[in-house]
């Protein structure tokens, strides 16, 4: 055969990873170099400006604990966006789940039921999103916007707009945030477990493959015999479940359920996913990238507060850092090709 080289041509622009780096690609090798570089730069800034406070274990634990809640949501969001959708309702669903789980009735059954309740509420709301989108054929942006508004209202109604305390007898919930194993609070382990499970689901299962297909080319997915609608339902349900888990974490951290929880989380989660290299158009993306993107945001906030910057300056700096991080990442992608 003489046509051997012609059909496997690698276009320069798209930067196929060299064979040696392929094995790590799934785990976030070269393609995440820019993000890692941004994180390292931020860490250096932290070390220089706050030598005593930044690199302490308690500060790092605190950063992880702060990242955990949105982190869990970000995992679900990554699936939804890779699958070609978007979920604006994550914050509101989390709020609703936290409120539902802290009603007097639910609390009377103890912490396990509370946790289950949060997850079920999340799953239910997510499934409703999925239903509206796949079977009702609504645009994801609008369907989840409607859910965001309605779930927020329901959460307010249910809680009568009050902050609901987790009762002392259910302090097993709070223990997630106060009990430490090997120096890390339990909720960090939950976060890690969700990330790991998300990674495996995305990269090692047929569900994950099909998510890429559904997002990348729904018509091709349909012709390949994939039930695109069912899959879409599942994606939003998964995102809802993540919101339910996040609700448990936020209850643990704040000791409350409240309709004000999760305000603007959707923006943070989407931004993390996109900074992490997932395309808003679907079909491409990684969990690791999203988590790195999120950590960048969390570390920025941490650095600002450690350095006592006021909010206005924080905001300006944040804008600049986002731009810098993205340009840095693109640069590293280009040079790695």
């Amino acid at each position: 055969m003489n046509d051997t080289r012609t059909l496997s041509a690698e276009p320069a622009g798209k930067a196929p990873a060299p064979a040696s780096s392929r094995s790590v690609r799934g785990l976030g090798g070269a393609r995440h170099l820019g993000l890692v570089a941004a994180l390292v730069l931020l860490a250096i800034v932290g070390l220089v400006t706050q030598p005593d406070n930044f690199a302490t274990s308690s500060n790092l634990v605190s950063v992880l604990a702060l990242a955990a809640t949105i982190g869990v949501i970000t995992v679900g969001m990554t699936f939804v966006i890779i699958g070609g959708g978007i979920d604006l309702s994550v914050g509101a669903i989390m709020a609703l789940a936290s409120v539902w789980a802290t009603t007097v009735a639910t609390q009377s059954y103890g912490p396990v039921v509370m946790a289950l309740c949060a997850i079920l509420v999340g799953a239910g709301a997510g499934a409703l999103n999925g239903f509206l989108i796949s079977y009702g054929r609504m645009v994801p942006f609008i369907a989840t916007l409607a859910m965001m508004v309605a779930a927020g209202g329901l959460a307010q109604r249910m809680s009568d707009r009050r902050t609901q305390l987790v009762r002392p007898e259910n302090d097993a919930i709070m223990a997630l945030s106060t009990t430490k194993v090997l120096g890390l609070p339990l909720l960090v382990y939950i976060f890690a477990a969700v990330v790991a499970a998300g990674w495996v689901l995305l990269n090692r299962t047929t569900f994950g493959r099909r998510t890429f297909a559904v997002g990348g080319n729904p018509e091709a997915a349909r012709l390949a015999g994939i039930d695109v609608r069912r899959h879409t339902m599942l994606l939003y349900t998964l995102s809802g479940v993540c919101c339910g888990i996040a609700a448990i974490l936020i209850m643990a951290r704040t000791t409350t359920g409240s309709s004000t929880h999760g305000n603007l989380y959707e923006l943070d989660a989407i931004a993390a996913v996109i900074i992490g290299g997932t395309l808003l158009t679907g079909g491409r993306g990684t969990i690791i990238g999203s988590i790195l993107g999120l950590l960048i945001f969390t570390v920025i906030t941490n650095l600002f507060i450690l350095n006592g910057l006021n909010t206005s300056d924080q905001l300006i700096a944040k804008g600049l850092i986002i731009v810098a991080a993205v340009l840095l990442q693109r640069r590293s992608l280009r040079s790695s090709s």
Partner: protein, 323 residues
């Protein structure tokens, strides 16, 4: 912070002890507009106003959609003006931004009771009733300053967690706090703002505690976000300092009673909404205040900010609002 046992509705701060004034008079429609009730204190404001109005058979209470968008609040007030209500009670998102439309109401002959956040133009309201934000900061500053002075701490680390930074009331509170501390020769070491929500309080406090390994005192402007602040303190396992809250929620009072990091809170009571409704009714009916000599309601009423500590908490608990 409520759980059902307490939601038995004992603490709606609607009181009717106005002597003859509470007897039914001419019928009055009172329009009411406030920011969105996504926050315990504001929710208490809305509830108190409604509950107070319900006490009077001669009051027709017309609340409009609460919103955090100034443009919509303007629209809401416009619609009340168009409906020719007898009096308006307005808690603006921002006094300056709502000034023009309030003035429009006054010009149309509708008396406006300005609740809490003040309009810059005195022609825009008949009466202002509100808390003393500057005084609140002063009270917190005095409590912290005095206590640290007594302990003989030389260069204390004093932190401040504000509410929403862009609100004038936040700036007033911080100014009062700084001024009061100055009289003791102290100053605020670090200041961060949160969003009045539990979760933002938790996040800001979580980070702030990392920045300061040893703290002497902490003032948190708002007891709603204070729940999150307290949780963060617990998670960081810190207790070397004491904390002062703000507003006076029932939950904060219970914490004070139990003894812990939270030692005091300075009030900024949502009961002012009940008072505002009462005043609006009186103004519309042309009556004065029973305990005053004057035949008309005063032009401005500033509530005092009180300091609640373990010593007097029992006395205040019934007034605490459930956040």
């Amino acid at each position: 912070t409520s759980n059902s046992e307490e939601t038995g509705n004992t603490n709606q701060q609607s009181v009717s002890t106005g002597g003859d004034n509470d007897k039914p008079g001419t019928k009055v429609t009172i329009g009411f507009s406030a920011p969105a009730a996504d926050h315990g204190w504001i929710a208490a404001i809305a509830k108190n106003a409604e509950a107070q109005a319900k006490q009077y058979s001669d009051v027709d209470f017309k609340p409009v959609e609460p919103t955090n968008d100034i443009n919509q609040q303007i629209s809401a007030v416009e619609s009340l003006i168009a409906q020719k209500v007898g009096a308006l009670v307005i808690l603006p998102n921002d006094g300056q931004q709502l000034n023009q439309v309030a003035r429009k109401a006054m010009d149309a002959g509708i008396p406006v009771v300005n609740l809490d956040r003040v309009f810059p133009d005195k022609l825009s309201y008949r009466t202002w009733v509100g808390g003393d934000n500057y005084g609140m900061g002063v009270a917190a500053g005095h409590y912290i300053g005095k206590k640290l002075k007594d302990k003989g701490v030389a260069k204390p680390v004093i932190l401040e967690i504000q509410g929403i930074a862009t609100l004038p009331l936040t700036q007033d509170r911080s100014k009062g706090f700084a001024d009061a501390l100055k009289t003791y020769g102290f100053e605020v070491t670090a200041q961060q703002d949160a969003q009045f929500t539990v979760e933002s309080g938790n996040e800001v406090a979580g980070n702030l505690l990392q920045a300061h390994k040893k703290i002497d005192a902490l003032w948190n402007h708002d007891d709603d976000q204070g729940v999150g602040v307290l949780a963060a303190i617990k998670q960081a396992n810190r207790n070397e300092f004491f904390m002062v809250g703000g507003a006076g929620s029932a939950n904060a009072m219970r914490e004070i009673k139990n003894g812990g990091v939270l030692e005091a809170t300075v009030t900024y009571s949502p009961s002012m909404a009940s008072s505002a409704i009462k005043l609006a009714r009186l103004i519309a009916q042309g009556k004065g205040m029973a305990d005053l000599v004057e035949k008309q309601v005063p032009q401005s009423i500033t509530l005092a900010s009180e300091t609640i500590t373990k010593d007097n908490v029992d006395q205040y608990l019934p007034l605490g609002f459930e956040s």
